[in-house]
């Protein structure tokens, strides 16, 4: 079973996208399996019994759960090319801090933008734009969050970009006018094959969100 890599994933998941990008950055061959989250596979339930969530990375039959942990694992196993985390302890701590920030704040805020209405949505929109501005300010004039090289924080954030048109449509937002530098950063990232191949089309995400909104009657 030399180097068998399976990824249990869900195509619109911005978390799954992180792992896809990391594997592609390292040139790792992997088998992608899309899960039906309303009918989870026995393999998913067996490999992530604690959280029962995607993505799950199964490397030579051993499961690794949680997207940020998977990205770090991939960086350490396939350490010969395209380092994802910096080598300096302080820079690594900074990178982890920003991905923690994204994990703590982004998901809930973006969820409110497309998944709620009225006052809750307005609050969500405000929080979301504030978050993007904080990230944009951290990016500054650098090409990537890590500096000259694409890395951990870029991977942590870029998946959300595939959802931007959905946020704009349902949140009635113009993200580029609020955060032009962040959009420029995103477009730079999208030029990398690992990213372009790992993110779904914005149109597909909009279709998905439309369906979810109908399903949960958010109109």
């Amino acid at each position: 079973m030399a180097n068998e890599v399976i990824l249990l994933d869900f195509w619109p998941s911005m978390f799954g996208m992180r792992t896809r990008i990391a594997l592609r950055e390292k040139g790792v061959e992997f088998e992608y399996r899309d899960e039906d989250l309303w009918n989870k596979s026995p393999l998913l339930l067996e490999t992530n019994p604690v959280h029962k969530k995607v993505p799950v990375l199964i490397h030579n039959s051993k499961p690794v759960c949680e997207s940020t942990i998977q990205v770090q694992y991939i960086d350490e196993v396939w350490s010969d090319k395209n380092p994802i985390l910096p080598s300096d302890p302080y820079q690594r701590a900074q990178a982890r801090f920003w991905v923690d920030f994204i994990d703590e704040k982004m998901y809930d805020a973006q969820r409110k933008v497309w998944g709620t209405k009225g006052e809750e949505q307005e609050t969500g929109k405000k929080e979301f734009i504030e978050l993007l501005k904080t990230l944009e300010s951290e990016l500054g004039d650098k090409t990537y969050f890590g500096g000259d090289d694409f890395g951990y924080v870029d991977i942590g954030l870029i998946g959300f970009y595939s959802w931007f048109h959905a946020y704009e449509k349902y949140g009635n937002l113009n993200i580029e006018s609020e955060c032009p530098k962040l959009i420029a950063w995103a477009k730079t990232c999208m030029q990398r094959e690992s990213v372009a191949k790992s993110l779904p089309d914005s149109e597909k995400v909009i279709e998905f969100v439309t369906e979810i909104r109908k399903k949960f009657m958010i109109e």
Binding site: V50, H59, K62, V64, C65, E66, I69, Q70, Q72, Y73, E76, V77, P89, Y90, R92, A93, R96, F97, D100, F101, T134
Partner: protein, 217 residues
């Protein structure tokens, strides 16, 4: 500021305790500065502008925030002794997973027990016991979560032990009855100087929690 290590700290915080344990495990001399969270110091606000929270480790003038991030940083900056992680990537991933579990499930549940009442508190007790059982299963028959040596997951979790008295008093249940193995593990950790020096007495925490409940509930 060559080789200065400052910890912006708060004595009852189980998150701050993690940083203390980590630094002591590595034998690092550090200056702990107690913060008044109702009146945060300019240094705290400047070194953690995003969250404005403790702990903050300031090493040679450079701040590191978020307790588990601090623990990992301490492990990497003082890599010559007492490694917190196994050397293989899979072992590291497992350790990070369980540290994350403590932060995600265990932490929220324990807060409800001492910080809430009524139904919310009861839900907290239930979630806490569930999390304890999952952790106990993960520990198995190992002396520490890391195996034979005290490590990252032990550091992430042991600090909550100082709050066990408060959980039992306000949640009205016995943690030892639910999980004797976890208590045995905790007592084993407490035999380490890095741990016993870094955790306050359980009675002090009970008094702290009682005060909180009086003022907030």
């Amino acid at each position: 500021m060559a080789n200065s290590t400052i910890l912006l700290d708060y004595w009852p915080s189980m998150f701050c305790m993690r940083a203390r344990v980590a630094l002591r495990e590595k034998g690092v001399e550090f200056e702990a500065r107690e913060e008044d969270l109702a009146n945060k110091s300019p240094l705290l606000l400047q070194s953690n502008p995003i969250h404005k929270k403790v702990p903050v480790l300031i090493h040679n003038g450079k701040p590191v925030c978020e307790s588990l991030n601090v623990v990992q940083y301490v492990d990497e900056a003082w890599s010559d002794k007492n490694p917190f992680f196994p050397s293989d990537p899979y072992g590291k991933a497992q350790a990070r997973f369980w540290g994350d579990f403590v932060d995600k499930k265990f932490s929220d549940a324990q807060f409800k027990i001492w910080g809430k009442k009524g139904e919310e508190q009861a839900a907290g007790v239930k979630e806490f016991i569930e999390a304890v059982k999952i952790l106990e299963a993960e520990l198995g028959d190992k002396p520490y979560f890391g195996g034979d040596t005290f490590g990252y997951v032990d550091i992430a979790l042991i600090t909550f032990y100082s709050w066990f008295g408060a959980y039992e008093k306000f949640g009205n249940f016995s943690i030892e009855a639910e999980s004797p193995k976890l208590i045995a593990w905790a007592k084993r950790c407490m035999e380490k100087e890095s741990v016993s020096k870094s955790l306050p007495d359980q009675e002090k925490i009970v008094a702290y929690a009682a005060e909180f409940r009086k003022n907030n509930l």
